[in-house]
Protein backbone atom coordinates (compact mmCIF):
# COMPACT_ATOMS: atom_id res chain seq x y z
CA UNK A 1 0.00 0.00 0.00
CA UNK A 2 2.74 2.41 1.01
CA UNK A 3 4.74 1.32 -2.02
CA UNK A 4 1.79 2.07 -4.29
CA UNK A 5 1.49 5.57 -2.87
CA UNK A 6 5.20 6.15 -3.38
CA UNK A 7 4.88 5.06 -6.98
CA UNK A 8 2.02 7.48 -7.73
CA UNK A 9 3.77 10.29 -5.86
CA UNK A 10 6.81 9.72 -8.07
CA UNK A 11 4.61 9.78 -11.19
CA UNK A 12 3.00 13.01 -10.02
CA UNK A 13 6.39 14.59 -9.35
CA UNK A 14 7.44 13.51 -12.83
CA UNK A 15 4.37 15.18 -14.31
CA UNK A 16 5.23 18.39 -12.46
CA UNK A 17 8.85 18.38 -13.63
CA UNK A 18 7.92 17.53 -17.18
CA UNK A 19 5.78 20.64 -17.58
CA UNK A 20 8.26 22.76 -15.61
CA UNK A 21 10.89 21.99 -18.28
CA UNK A 22 9.21 24.12 -20.95
CA UNK A 23 9.84 27.57 -19.51
CA UNK A 24 9.44 29.55 -22.75
CA UNK A 25 6.18 27.75 -23.54
CA UNK A 26 4.95 28.53 -20.03
CA UNK A 27 5.84 32.21 -20.42
CA UNK A 28 4.12 32.28 -23.81
CA UNK A 29 1.02 30.69 -22.28
CA UNK A 30 0.98 33.24 -19.46
CA UNK A 31 1.25 36.03 -22.03
CA UNK A 32 -1.70 34.64 -24.00
CA UNK A 33 -3.83 34.21 -20.88
CA UNK A 34 -3.05 37.79 -19.92
CA UNK A 35 -4.01 39.20 -23.33
CA UNK A 36 -7.30 37.30 -23.36
CA UNK A 37 -7.92 38.29 -19.74
CA UNK A 38 -7.47 41.93 -20.71
CA UNK A 39 -9.94 41.70 -23.61
CA UNK A 40 -12.53 39.79 -21.58
CA UNK A 41 -12.17 42.09 -18.57
CA UNK A 42 -13.06 45.15 -20.66
CA UNK A 43 -16.07 43.45 -22.21
CA UNK A 44 -17.29 42.37 -18.77
CA UNK A 45 -16.83 45.92 -17.47
CA UNK A 46 -19.02 47.17 -20.34
CA UNK A 47 -21.57 44.44 -19.62
CA UNK A 48 -21.73 45.19 -15.88
CA UNK A 49 -21.84 48.95 -16.62
CA UNK A 50 -25.01 48.25 -18.54
CA UNK A 51 -26.49 45.89 -15.92
CA UNK A 52 -24.90 46.35 -12.48
CA UNK A 53 -25.35 43.30 -10.28
CA UNK A 54 -25.83 40.95 -13.25
CA UNK A 55 -25.78 37.32 -12.13
CA UNK A 56 -25.33 38.43 -8.51
CA UNK A 57 -21.81 39.79 -9.12
CA UNK A 58 -20.76 43.38 -8.77
CA UNK A 59 -18.34 44.78 -11.34
CA UNK A 60 -15.19 44.05 -9.32
CA UNK A 61 -16.32 40.44 -8.82
CA UNK A 62 -17.01 40.08 -12.55
CA UNK A 63 -13.51 41.30 -13.43
CA UNK A 64 -12.01 39.04 -10.78
CA UNK A 65 -13.95 36.17 -12.33
CA UNK A 66 -12.19 36.83 -15.65
CA UNK A 67 -8.74 36.58 -14.11
CA UNK A 68 -9.60 33.50 -12.02
CA UNK A 69 -10.84 31.91 -15.23
CA UNK A 70 -7.65 32.76 -17.14
CA UNK A 71 -5.57 31.48 -14.23
CA UNK A 72 -7.49 28.19 -14.10
CA UNK A 73 -7.80 27.65 -17.87
CA UNK A 74 -4.72 25.46 -18.15
CA UNK A 75 -4.94 24.05 -14.60
CA UNK A 76 -8.28 22.34 -15.21
CA UNK A 77 -7.29 21.90 -18.89
CA UNK A 78 -10.51 23.35 -20.30
CA UNK A 79 -8.96 23.34 -23.77
CA UNK A 80 -7.44 19.89 -23.28
CA UNK A 81 -3.72 19.53 -23.73
CA UNK A 82 -3.08 17.37 -20.70
CA UNK A 83 -2.32 13.65 -20.61
CA UNK A 84 -5.09 12.68 -23.04
CA UNK A 85 -3.14 13.31 -26.27
CA UNK A 86 -0.53 10.86 -25.12
CA UNK A 87 -3.00 8.25 -23.90
CA UNK A 88 -4.95 8.45 -27.18
CA UNK A 89 -1.73 8.00 -29.12
CA UNK A 90 -0.84 4.95 -27.02
CA UNK A 91 -4.27 3.46 -27.62
CA UNK A 92 -4.00 4.13 -31.35
CA UNK A 93 -0.53 2.64 -31.71
CA UNK A 94 -1.20 -0.30 -29.43
CA UNK A 95 1.39 0.71 -26.82
CA UNK A 96 -1.50 0.60 -24.37
CA UNK A 97 -0.98 -3.18 -24.23
CA UNK A 98 2.35 -2.61 -22.46
CA UNK A 99 0.69 -0.20 -20.01
CA UNK A 100 -1.90 -2.85 -19.15
CA UNK A 101 0.88 -5.28 -18.25
CA UNK A 102 2.44 -2.86 -15.78
CA UNK A 103 1.95 -3.46 -12.06
CA UNK A 104 0.18 -0.12 -11.74
CA UNK A 105 -3.43 0.90 -12.16
CA UNK A 106 -3.98 2.60 -15.52
CA UNK A 107 -6.40 5.24 -14.26
CA UNK A 108 -4.44 6.02 -11.10
CA UNK A 109 -1.22 6.32 -13.10
CA UNK A 110 -2.62 8.94 -15.46
CA UNK A 111 -4.42 10.70 -12.64
CA UNK A 112 -1.13 11.05 -10.77
CA UNK A 113 0.63 12.39 -13.86
CA UNK A 114 -2.20 14.86 -14.49
CA UNK A 115 -2.19 16.00 -10.86
CA UNK A 116 1.50 16.84 -11.22
CA UNK A 117 0.78 18.82 -14.37
CA UNK A 118 -2.09 20.69 -12.72
CA UNK A 119 0.06 21.58 -9.70
CA UNK A 120 2.73 23.05 -11.94
CA UNK A 121 0.26 24.99 -14.05
CA UNK A 122 -1.43 26.43 -10.99
CA UNK A 123 1.93 27.91 -9.96
CA UNK A 124 3.39 28.55 -13.40
CA UNK A 125 0.35 29.79 -15.29
CA UNK A 126 -2.18 30.68 -12.60
CA UNK A 127 -0.35 33.20 -10.47
CA UNK A 128 1.01 35.72 -12.99
CA UNK A 129 -2.28 36.51 -14.81
CA UNK A 130 -3.94 37.02 -11.41
CA UNK A 131 -1.19 39.39 -10.29
CA UNK A 132 -1.36 41.29 -13.59
CA UNK A 133 -5.14 41.54 -13.29
CA UNK A 134 -4.75 42.82 -9.75
CA UNK A 135 -2.33 45.53 -10.90
CA UNK A 136 -4.49 46.78 -13.79
CA UNK A 137 -7.99 46.38 -12.37
CA UNK A 138 -9.79 46.68 -9.07
CA UNK A 139 -10.25 43.04 -8.05
CA UNK A 140 -12.49 41.61 -5.34
CA UNK A 141 -9.99 39.16 -3.85
CA UNK A 142 -10.53 37.81 -0.33
CA UNK A 143 -8.24 39.04 2.44
CA UNK A 144 -8.48 35.99 4.66
CA UNK A 145 -6.45 32.81 4.27
CA UNK A 146 -9.54 30.64 4.91
CA UNK A 147 -11.23 31.63 1.67
CA UNK A 148 -8.04 31.04 -0.31
CA UNK A 149 -7.72 27.61 1.28
CA UNK A 150 -11.35 26.85 0.47
CA UNK A 151 -10.63 27.95 -3.10
CA UNK A 152 -7.66 25.57 -3.34
CA UNK A 153 -9.84 22.65 -2.23
CA UNK A 154 -12.39 23.57 -4.92
CA UNK A 155 -9.58 23.73 -7.52
CA UNK A 156 -8.34 20.25 -6.52
CA UNK A 157 -11.88 18.87 -6.88
CA UNK A 158 -12.19 20.69 -10.20
CA UNK A 159 -8.98 19.06 -11.46
CA UNK A 160 -10.40 15.65 -10.44
CA UNK A 161 -13.61 16.23 -12.41
CA UNK A 162 -11.62 17.55 -15.35
CA UNK A 163 -9.39 14.48 -15.30
CA UNK A 164 -12.39 12.14 -15.11
CA UNK A 165 -13.98 13.78 -18.17
CA UNK A 166 -10.76 13.74 -20.20
CA UNK A 167 -10.08 10.12 -19.22
CA UNK A 168 -13.44 9.14 -20.72
CA UNK A 169 -12.66 11.21 -23.82
CA UNK A 170 -9.32 9.44 -24.23
CA UNK A 171 -10.89 5.99 -23.74
CA UNK A 172 -13.25 6.75 -26.62
CA UNK A 173 -10.20 6.17 -28.83
CA UNK A 174 -10.60 2.43 -28.15
CA UNK A 175 -13.72 2.58 -30.28
CA UNK A 176 -13.00 5.45 -32.69
CA UNK A 177 -9.23 4.96 -33.17
CA UNK A 178 -8.97 8.66 -34.06
CA UNK A 179 -9.74 10.69 -30.95
CA UNK A 180 -9.71 14.11 -32.62
CA UNK A 181 -13.46 14.45 -33.16
CA UNK A 182 -14.45 13.50 -29.61
CA UNK A 183 -11.67 15.67 -28.19
CA UNK A 184 -12.87 18.66 -30.18
CA UNK A 185 -16.45 18.21 -28.94
CA UNK A 186 -15.19 17.89 -25.36
CA UNK A 187 -13.21 21.13 -25.66
CA UNK A 188 -16.24 22.96 -27.06
CA UNK A 189 -18.49 21.69 -24.27
CA UNK A 190 -15.78 22.53 -21.73
CA UNK A 191 -15.26 26.08 -22.94
CA UNK A 192 -18.95 26.82 -22.97
CA UNK A 193 -20.27 24.96 -19.91
CA UNK A 194 -17.35 25.55 -17.54
CA UNK A 195 -18.14 29.26 -17.51
CA UNK A 196 -14.97 30.18 -19.42
CA UNK A 197 -16.79 32.22 -22.09
CA UNK A 198 -19.38 33.74 -19.76
CA UNK A 199 -20.13 33.10 -16.06
CA UNK A 200 -22.87 30.47 -15.81
CA UNK A 201 -24.96 32.66 -13.47
CA UNK A 202 -25.36 35.09 -16.39
CA UNK A 203 -26.84 32.35 -18.62
CA UNK A 204 -30.59 32.94 -18.94
CA UNK A 205 -33.36 30.65 -17.67
CA UNK A 206 -33.35 26.93 -18.31
CA UNK A 207 -29.98 27.02 -20.11
CA UNK A 208 -28.44 28.51 -16.97
CA UNK A 209 -30.05 25.86 -14.76
CA UNK A 210 -28.82 23.10 -17.04
CA UNK A 211 -25.30 24.55 -17.28
CA UNK A 212 -25.00 24.83 -13.51
CA UNK A 213 -25.71 21.11 -12.89
CA UNK A 214 -23.42 19.76 -15.66
CA UNK A 215 -19.99 18.49 -14.55
CA UNK A 216 -18.10 21.27 -16.36
CA UNK A 217 -19.42 23.85 -13.89
CA UNK A 218 -17.14 22.17 -11.32
CA UNK A 219 -14.07 23.27 -13.31
CA UNK A 220 -14.18 27.09 -13.31
CA UNK A 221 -17.52 28.36 -12.03
CA UNK A 222 -17.38 26.51 -8.70
CA UNK A 223 -13.82 27.48 -7.68
CA UNK A 224 -14.40 31.07 -8.84
CA UNK A 225 -17.58 31.35 -6.77
CA UNK A 226 -15.72 30.05 -3.72
CA UNK A 227 -12.94 32.62 -4.17
CA UNK A 228 -15.43 35.45 -4.75
CA UNK A 229 -17.04 34.65 -1.39
CA UNK A 230 -20.31 33.55 -2.97
CA UNK A 231 -20.10 30.17 -1.26
CA UNK A 232 -19.68 30.07 2.48
CA UNK A 233 -20.84 27.78 5.28
CA UNK A 234 -23.43 25.29 4.11
CA UNK A 235 -23.28 26.54 0.52
CA UNK A 236 -19.55 25.85 0.46
CA UNK A 237 -20.14 22.27 1.60
CA UNK A 238 -22.84 21.88 -1.05
CA UNK A 239 -20.40 23.09 -3.71
CA UNK A 240 -17.77 20.59 -2.55
CA UNK A 241 -20.37 17.81 -2.48
CA UNK A 242 -21.46 18.71 -6.01
CA UNK A 243 -17.88 18.61 -7.30
CA UNK A 244 -17.01 15.45 -5.39
CA UNK A 245 -20.15 13.67 -6.61
CA UNK A 246 -19.27 14.36 -10.25
CA UNK A 247 -15.65 13.38 -9.62
CA UNK A 248 -16.54 10.06 -8.00
CA UNK A 249 -19.31 9.31 -10.50
CA UNK A 250 -17.23 10.06 -13.59
CA UNK A 251 -14.14 8.27 -12.23
CA UNK A 252 -16.33 5.21 -11.60
CA UNK A 253 -17.74 5.38 -15.13
CA UNK A 254 -14.14 5.70 -16.32
CA UNK A 255 -13.28 2.42 -14.59
CA UNK A 256 -16.28 0.65 -16.10
CA UNK A 257 -15.44 1.89 -19.58
CA UNK A 258 -11.81 0.98 -19.02
CA UNK A 259 -12.65 -2.62 -18.17
CA UNK A 260 -15.01 -2.82 -21.14
CA UNK A 261 -12.32 -1.33 -23.37
CA UNK A 262 -9.49 -3.55 -22.21
CA UNK A 263 -11.59 -6.60 -22.93
CA UNK A 264 -11.68 -5.32 -26.51
CA UNK A 265 -7.93 -4.87 -26.84
CA UNK A 266 -6.53 -6.92 -29.67
CA UNK A 267 -2.83 -6.34 -30.11
CA UNK A 268 -1.91 -6.45 -33.75
CA UNK A 269 1.14 -8.08 -35.11
CA UNK A 270 3.55 -10.28 -33.25
Amino acid sequence: MVRAWRLYAAVAAGGFRRYATYRVATAAGVFTNTVFGLILAYTYIALWDERPGLGGYDQAQAVTYVWVGQGLLSVVAVMGGGFEDELIERIRTGDIAIDLYRPADLQAWWLAADAGRAAFQLLGRGVVPMVFGGLVFQLALPGDAGTWLAFLVAVVLGVLVSFAIRYLVALAAFWFMDGAGVQQLAVLAGLFFSGMTLPLNVFPGALGELARVLPWSALVQAPADVLLGERTGLALLRTYAFQAAWAVGLLAVGRLVQSAATRRVVVQGG
Partner: protein, 295 residues
Protein backbone atom coordinates in the same frame (compact mmCIF):
# COMPACT_ATOMS: atom_id res chain seq x y z
CA UNK B 1 -11.18 27.24 -54.10
CA UNK B 2 -11.54 27.18 -57.86
CA UNK B 3 -8.03 28.56 -58.32
CA UNK B 4 -6.64 25.35 -56.85
CA UNK B 5 -7.80 23.44 -59.81
CA UNK B 6 -7.21 25.84 -62.64
CA UNK B 7 -4.06 25.93 -64.72
CA UNK B 8 -2.62 22.44 -64.57
CA UNK B 9 1.12 22.53 -65.27
CA UNK B 10 1.92 22.72 -68.96
CA UNK B 11 4.06 19.79 -70.08
CA UNK B 12 6.81 22.13 -71.23
CA UNK B 13 6.72 24.38 -68.17
CA UNK B 14 10.08 24.45 -66.38
CA UNK B 15 10.09 22.95 -62.94
CA UNK B 16 13.79 22.70 -62.18
CA UNK B 17 15.04 24.77 -59.24
CA UNK B 18 16.42 28.14 -60.10
CA UNK B 19 19.16 27.98 -57.55
CA UNK B 20 22.49 29.63 -58.05
CA UNK B 21 21.29 33.08 -59.01
CA UNK B 22 18.93 35.56 -57.43
CA UNK B 23 15.61 35.15 -59.20
CA UNK B 24 13.56 38.24 -60.05
CA UNK B 25 10.86 39.08 -57.52
CA UNK B 26 7.96 38.32 -59.85
CA UNK B 27 8.99 34.81 -60.69
CA UNK B 28 9.62 34.07 -57.03
CA UNK B 29 6.07 35.06 -56.22
CA UNK B 30 4.73 32.88 -59.01
CA UNK B 31 6.93 30.02 -57.81
CA UNK B 32 5.68 30.45 -54.28
CA UNK B 33 2.05 30.53 -55.27
CA UNK B 34 2.44 27.46 -57.42
CA UNK B 35 4.18 25.56 -54.64
CA UNK B 36 1.49 26.67 -52.23
CA UNK B 37 -1.25 25.51 -54.58
CA UNK B 38 0.33 22.10 -55.10
CA UNK B 39 0.98 21.44 -51.42
CA UNK B 40 -2.44 22.68 -50.36
CA UNK B 41 -4.10 20.49 -52.98
CA UNK B 42 -2.13 17.51 -51.74
CA UNK B 43 -3.37 18.09 -48.19
CA UNK B 44 -6.95 18.52 -49.37
CA UNK B 45 -6.81 15.20 -51.16
CA UNK B 46 -5.29 13.52 -48.14
CA UNK B 47 -8.00 14.97 -45.86
CA UNK B 48 -10.70 13.79 -48.22
CA UNK B 49 -9.51 10.22 -47.77
CA UNK B 50 -11.30 10.33 -44.39
CA UNK B 51 -14.52 12.08 -45.34
CA UNK B 52 -16.39 11.36 -42.11
CA UNK B 53 -13.56 12.73 -40.02
CA UNK B 54 -13.38 15.78 -42.29
CA UNK B 55 -17.11 16.40 -41.90
CA UNK B 56 -16.78 16.14 -38.11
CA UNK B 57 -13.87 18.57 -37.88
CA UNK B 58 -15.51 20.98 -40.32
CA UNK B 59 -18.60 20.95 -38.13
CA UNK B 60 -16.41 21.34 -35.03
CA UNK B 61 -14.67 24.35 -36.53
CA UNK B 62 -18.03 25.89 -37.37
CA UNK B 63 -19.58 25.03 -34.00
CA UNK B 64 -16.56 26.36 -32.09
CA UNK B 65 -16.90 29.78 -33.63
CA UNK B 66 -20.69 29.67 -33.27
CA UNK B 67 -20.30 29.28 -29.50
CA UNK B 68 -18.25 32.48 -29.44
CA UNK B 69 -21.18 34.30 -30.98
CA UNK B 70 -23.63 32.52 -28.69
CA UNK B 71 -21.74 34.09 -25.77
CA UNK B 72 -22.42 37.52 -27.30
CA UNK B 73 -26.08 36.58 -27.84
CA UNK B 74 -26.30 35.52 -24.18
CA UNK B 75 -24.84 38.89 -23.15
CA UNK B 76 -27.48 40.64 -25.23
CA UNK B 77 -30.20 38.49 -23.66
CA UNK B 78 -29.45 40.50 -20.51
CA UNK B 79 -28.66 43.95 -21.97
CA UNK B 80 -29.83 45.98 -24.97
CA UNK B 81 -26.52 47.69 -25.62
CA UNK B 82 -22.84 46.98 -25.08
CA UNK B 83 -20.57 50.01 -25.03
CA UNK B 84 -23.38 51.94 -26.77
CA UNK B 85 -23.66 49.41 -29.62
CA UNK B 86 -26.73 47.36 -30.48
CA UNK B 87 -26.60 43.60 -31.13
CA UNK B 88 -26.78 44.18 -34.90
CA UNK B 89 -23.84 46.58 -34.81
CA UNK B 90 -21.74 44.19 -32.72
CA UNK B 91 -22.71 41.40 -35.14
CA UNK B 92 -21.48 43.60 -38.01
CA UNK B 93 -18.08 44.00 -36.32
CA UNK B 94 -18.04 40.32 -35.38
CA UNK B 95 -18.85 39.07 -38.88
CA UNK B 96 -16.21 41.23 -40.54
CA UNK B 97 -13.53 40.34 -37.99
CA UNK B 98 -14.32 36.63 -38.16
CA UNK B 99 -14.47 36.45 -41.95
CA UNK B 100 -11.23 38.42 -42.46
CA UNK B 101 -9.45 36.39 -39.80
CA UNK B 102 -10.92 33.18 -41.19
CA UNK B 103 -9.45 33.91 -44.62
CA UNK B 104 -5.99 34.49 -43.12
CA UNK B 105 -6.37 31.41 -40.91
CA UNK B 106 -7.34 29.26 -43.89
CA UNK B 107 -4.31 30.32 -45.92
CA UNK B 108 -1.68 30.69 -43.17
CA UNK B 109 -3.14 28.97 -40.11
CA UNK B 110 -0.36 26.39 -40.01
CA UNK B 111 2.34 28.97 -39.31
CA UNK B 112 2.22 28.14 -35.61
CA UNK B 113 3.69 24.72 -36.37
CA UNK B 114 6.95 26.29 -37.46
CA UNK B 115 8.45 26.21 -33.96
CA UNK B 116 7.80 22.48 -33.84
CA UNK B 117 9.60 22.04 -37.17
CA UNK B 118 12.57 24.07 -35.99
CA UNK B 119 12.74 22.02 -32.82
CA UNK B 120 12.61 18.58 -34.41
CA UNK B 121 14.73 19.56 -37.39
CA UNK B 122 12.16 18.85 -40.10
CA UNK B 123 12.47 22.43 -41.36
CA UNK B 124 15.70 21.36 -43.05
CA UNK B 125 13.69 19.24 -45.46
CA UNK B 126 11.84 22.34 -46.60
CA UNK B 127 15.06 24.27 -47.09
CA UNK B 128 16.45 21.86 -49.65
CA UNK B 129 13.27 21.76 -51.72
CA UNK B 130 13.17 24.00 -54.78
CA UNK B 131 10.28 26.16 -53.55
CA UNK B 132 10.07 29.19 -51.27
CA UNK B 133 10.10 28.11 -47.62
CA UNK B 134 7.30 30.50 -46.68
CA UNK B 135 4.97 28.89 -49.22
CA UNK B 136 5.85 25.43 -47.94
CA UNK B 137 5.37 26.30 -44.28
CA UNK B 138 2.14 28.15 -44.99
CA UNK B 139 0.63 25.31 -47.01
CA UNK B 140 1.78 22.65 -44.57
CA UNK B 141 -1.27 20.73 -43.30
CA UNK B 142 -3.58 22.99 -45.26
CA UNK B 143 -6.92 22.49 -43.53
CA UNK B 144 -10.10 23.00 -45.50
CA UNK B 145 -12.08 22.62 -42.27
CA UNK B 146 -11.15 26.22 -41.53
CA UNK B 147 -13.84 27.19 -44.02
CA UNK B 148 -16.12 26.63 -41.02
CA UNK B 149 -14.99 29.87 -39.40
CA UNK B 150 -15.34 31.90 -42.60
CA UNK B 151 -18.82 30.51 -43.17
CA UNK B 152 -19.87 31.37 -39.65
CA UNK B 153 -18.43 34.89 -39.94
CA UNK B 154 -20.25 35.50 -43.21
CA UNK B 155 -23.53 34.21 -41.74
CA UNK B 156 -23.25 36.60 -38.79
CA UNK B 157 -22.36 39.41 -41.21
CA UNK B 158 -25.42 38.54 -43.28
CA UNK B 159 -27.58 38.72 -40.17
CA UNK B 160 -26.07 42.12 -39.31
CA UNK B 161 -26.74 43.47 -42.79
CA UNK B 162 -30.39 42.47 -42.46
CA UNK B 163 -31.03 43.98 -39.02
CA UNK B 164 -28.85 47.11 -39.11
CA UNK B 165 -30.15 50.11 -41.00
CA UNK B 166 -27.20 51.32 -43.08
CA UNK B 167 -27.43 54.33 -45.39
CA UNK B 168 -25.59 52.81 -48.32
CA UNK B 169 -23.45 54.98 -50.57
CA UNK B 170 -21.20 53.75 -53.41
CA UNK B 171 -18.16 54.35 -51.21
CA UNK B 172 -19.59 52.19 -48.43
CA UNK B 173 -20.47 49.38 -50.82
CA UNK B 174 -16.95 49.50 -52.22
CA UNK B 175 -15.46 49.51 -48.74
CA UNK B 176 -17.00 46.13 -47.82
CA UNK B 177 -14.88 43.84 -50.07
CA UNK B 178 -11.85 46.14 -49.68
CA UNK B 179 -12.12 45.82 -45.91
CA UNK B 180 -12.43 42.04 -46.08
CA UNK B 181 -9.38 41.58 -48.28
CA UNK B 182 -7.16 44.11 -46.49
CA UNK B 183 -8.28 42.74 -43.14
CA UNK B 184 -7.28 39.24 -44.19
CA UNK B 185 -3.93 40.63 -45.41
CA UNK B 186 -3.29 42.41 -42.09
CA UNK B 187 -4.01 39.19 -40.17
CA UNK B 188 -1.87 37.27 -42.66
CA UNK B 189 1.06 39.56 -41.89
CA UNK B 190 0.55 38.86 -38.18
CA UNK B 191 0.70 35.13 -38.91
CA UNK B 192 3.93 35.54 -40.90
CA UNK B 193 5.53 37.79 -38.28
CA UNK B 194 4.52 35.23 -35.65
CA UNK B 195 6.20 32.53 -37.73
CA UNK B 196 9.37 34.63 -37.95
CA UNK B 197 9.35 35.02 -34.17
CA UNK B 198 9.34 31.25 -33.76
CA UNK B 199 12.78 31.08 -35.35
CA UNK B 200 13.93 32.94 -32.24
CA UNK B 201 11.70 31.28 -29.66
CA UNK B 202 10.52 27.86 -30.82
CA UNK B 203 8.29 27.13 -27.87
CA UNK B 204 6.52 30.46 -28.02
CA UNK B 205 3.94 29.67 -30.70
CA UNK B 206 1.28 30.57 -28.14
CA UNK B 207 2.40 34.22 -28.24
CA UNK B 208 1.22 34.29 -31.83
CA UNK B 209 -2.23 33.13 -30.69
CA UNK B 210 -2.62 36.19 -28.51
CA UNK B 211 -2.28 38.44 -31.55
CA UNK B 212 -4.19 36.29 -34.04
CA UNK B 213 -7.02 34.74 -32.03
CA UNK B 214 -6.78 37.50 -29.43
CA UNK B 215 -6.85 40.11 -32.20
CA UNK B 216 -9.98 38.74 -33.83
CA UNK B 217 -11.71 38.45 -30.44
CA UNK B 218 -10.82 42.07 -29.64
CA UNK B 219 -12.17 43.31 -32.97
CA UNK B 220 -15.47 41.50 -32.43
CA UNK B 221 -16.36 44.01 -29.72
CA UNK B 222 -16.91 47.75 -30.10
CA UNK B 223 -13.82 49.94 -29.56
CA UNK B 224 -15.79 51.98 -27.02
CA UNK B 225 -15.58 49.00 -24.65
CA UNK B 226 -11.80 49.14 -24.32
CA UNK B 227 -9.43 51.53 -22.57
CA UNK B 228 -8.17 54.39 -24.77
CA UNK B 229 -4.57 53.18 -24.50
CA UNK B 230 -5.47 49.73 -25.75
CA UNK B 231 -7.37 51.27 -28.68
CA UNK B 232 -4.36 53.50 -29.43
CA UNK B 233 -2.11 50.44 -29.33
CA UNK B 234 -4.14 48.49 -31.89
CA UNK B 235 -4.51 51.59 -34.08
CA UNK B 236 -0.97 52.95 -34.19
CA UNK B 237 1.34 50.13 -33.04
CA UNK B 238 -0.25 46.88 -34.21
CA UNK B 239 -2.78 48.33 -36.67
CA UNK B 240 -5.53 45.75 -36.20
CA UNK B 241 -8.10 48.58 -36.00
CA UNK B 242 -7.83 48.86 -39.79
CA UNK B 243 -9.14 45.30 -40.22
CA UNK B 244 -12.69 46.29 -39.33
CA UNK B 245 -13.06 48.95 -36.64
CA UNK B 246 -12.25 52.06 -38.68
CA UNK B 247 -13.85 51.03 -42.00
CA UNK B 248 -16.84 49.34 -40.31
CA UNK B 249 -17.59 52.37 -38.17
CA UNK B 250 -17.52 54.48 -41.34
CA UNK B 251 -20.09 52.16 -42.90
CA UNK B 252 -22.22 52.21 -39.75
CA UNK B 253 -21.85 55.99 -39.46
CA UNK B 254 -20.58 55.76 -35.88
CA UNK B 255 -17.72 57.82 -34.41
CA UNK B 256 -14.31 56.29 -33.68
CA UNK B 257 -13.19 56.85 -30.09
CA UNK B 258 -9.80 58.34 -31.08
CA UNK B 259 -11.00 61.36 -33.10
CA UNK B 260 -9.33 60.27 -36.32
CA UNK B 261 -10.41 61.91 -39.60
CA UNK B 262 -13.07 60.00 -41.53
CA UNK B 263 -10.83 59.24 -44.50
CA UNK B 264 -8.75 56.89 -42.33
CA UNK B 265 -11.50 54.35 -43.02
CA UNK B 266 -10.09 54.04 -46.53
CA UNK B 267 -6.42 53.50 -45.76
CA UNK B 268 -6.78 49.80 -44.79
CA UNK B 269 -5.27 48.57 -48.10
CA UNK B 270 -2.25 50.79 -47.58
CA UNK B 271 -1.85 49.59 -43.99
CA UNK B 272 -2.15 46.00 -45.22
CA UNK B 273 0.60 46.51 -47.80
CA UNK B 274 2.94 48.07 -45.22
CA UNK B 275 2.22 45.28 -42.73
CA UNK B 276 2.87 42.58 -45.32
CA UNK B 277 6.13 44.30 -46.29
CA UNK B 278 7.32 44.52 -42.70
CA UNK B 279 6.39 40.95 -41.87
CA UNK B 280 8.10 39.82 -45.08
CA UNK B 281 11.29 41.49 -43.86
CA UNK B 282 10.86 39.89 -40.44
CA UNK B 283 10.42 36.52 -42.11
CA UNK B 284 13.63 36.95 -44.12
CA UNK B 285 15.54 37.98 -41.02
CA UNK B 286 14.13 34.99 -39.14
CA UNK B 287 14.96 32.54 -41.90
CA UNK B 288 18.51 33.92 -42.24
CA UNK B 289 19.10 33.54 -38.51
CA UNK B 290 17.98 29.90 -38.61
CA UNK B 291 20.56 27.39 -37.50
CA UNK B 292 19.60 23.77 -37.89
CA UNK B 293 19.48 21.58 -34.80
CA UNK B 294 21.90 19.34 -36.65
CA UNK B 295 22.13 15.83 -35.23
Amino acid sequence: MADLREKPREPGEPREPRAGFEPVAGSRLVDGLRAYRLIAWMWIRSTMAYRASFAMTLFGNFAGTVLDFVAILLMFSRVDQLGGYSLGEVAFLYGLSSAAFGLADLTLGSMDRLGQRVRDGTLDTLLVRPAPVLAQVAADRFALRRLGRITQGLLVLGYALVVVDIEWTPAKVLLMPVMMVSGAAIFASVFVAGGAFQFVAQDASQVQNSFTYGGTTLLQYPPTVFAKDLVRGVTFVLPLAFVNWLPALYVLGLPYPLDLPRWTAFVSPLVAVVCCGLSGLAWRAGLRSYRSTGS
